[in-house]
Symmetry: C2
Subunit: 164 residues, 2 copies
Amino acid sequence: MDAPRWLDEREDRAWRGYRRMRRLLDLELARQLTQDSGLSEPDYDVLSDLSESPEGRLRLRDLADRMLWSRSRLSHHLTRMQQRGLVTRQECPDDARGSIVALTPAGREAIEAAAPGHLTAVRRNLIDLLTPAEVEALGALTHRVVDHLAGQQPRPRPRHEPAA
Amino acid sequence: MDAPRWLDEREDRAWRGYRRMRRLLDLELARQLTQDSGLSEPDYDVLSDLSESPEGRLRLRDLADRMLWSRSRLSHHLTRMQQRGLVTRQECPDDARGSIVALTPAGREAIEAAAPGHLTAVRRNLIDLLTPAEVEALGALTHRVVDHLAGQQPRPRPRHEPAA
DNA sequence: GGCAGTTCGATGACATGTCAACAATCTGGG
DNA sequence: CCCAGATTGTTGACATGTCATCGAACTGCC
């Protein structure tokens, strides 16, 4: 760890560009989303995943896993969305501990109203700025990194921390 | 806005991959960073930008602009970092309103201790997983998007909102 | 059946980020 | 000079995310 290989000029350019794009794209997409639909990005993601599920329903655990959110975070966020009438919680038939999250009609309306504008913003600010080859490369590269990261430790599960 | 062009299969793959990579990479880098050095990612970014500046000093305004943070956020964060002894605030000679943020010796030690491990993690989980062509493509594409986003409205400065 | 160990989701305390408002200061036109 | 308007950084209120913990329920082994 004492003499790491520093990033060369190209690598540094890619890494800095990635971080900067990330930040600016976030700001722009969040701005567009709240302005046009009153939803935050997390709101949108929750509604989006729900709307892609059969009957707009998902078990909290499964939704959390799919979104890569902690159950705690999702539970807090759902409480807020529930108060706004976007989702409801239902009992889980096969597991009394469980909780089923379901889109309300208002929630479905909200995501359907927000999606076209959001999609357009994604196109305008990212996808349409890329060549087909770049889209292809971005897909390939991100999926490779995702596989790498997902593979190494799906859930850090330290059992009996061996003595230091 | 009623009939947007939906993302085709390749575009969707790129967009989903990007978001998933983003999340997983964040989690992993943050995990590595706090575990090995006790710094958060925001801490690291602040210290990193400061350490790249002459004498490890920057005006708060300039640091905020460089990081794409709001002044409020930076001010809050600096207060916390100051309490941990990583940075100090100094008066600004040429502008009495201004505030100069400076690395403390402890801050410089912290970033120098954290950098090699962080850099290694960036390599292991991203850069070294990419072909040279992909690194090149990522650099090109991200910078294009950044230029696009930075160009359209450097600072949203709505003055007299013209009637809708 | 019963118990140990695990999973599930909720919760409270706390860390962090956003937003609006503010005082102090700077700036330029008159 | 003077003052209206802009900029700077801080602050408090609040929204959001994290972490540790909890009670309830499930699971498999005896």
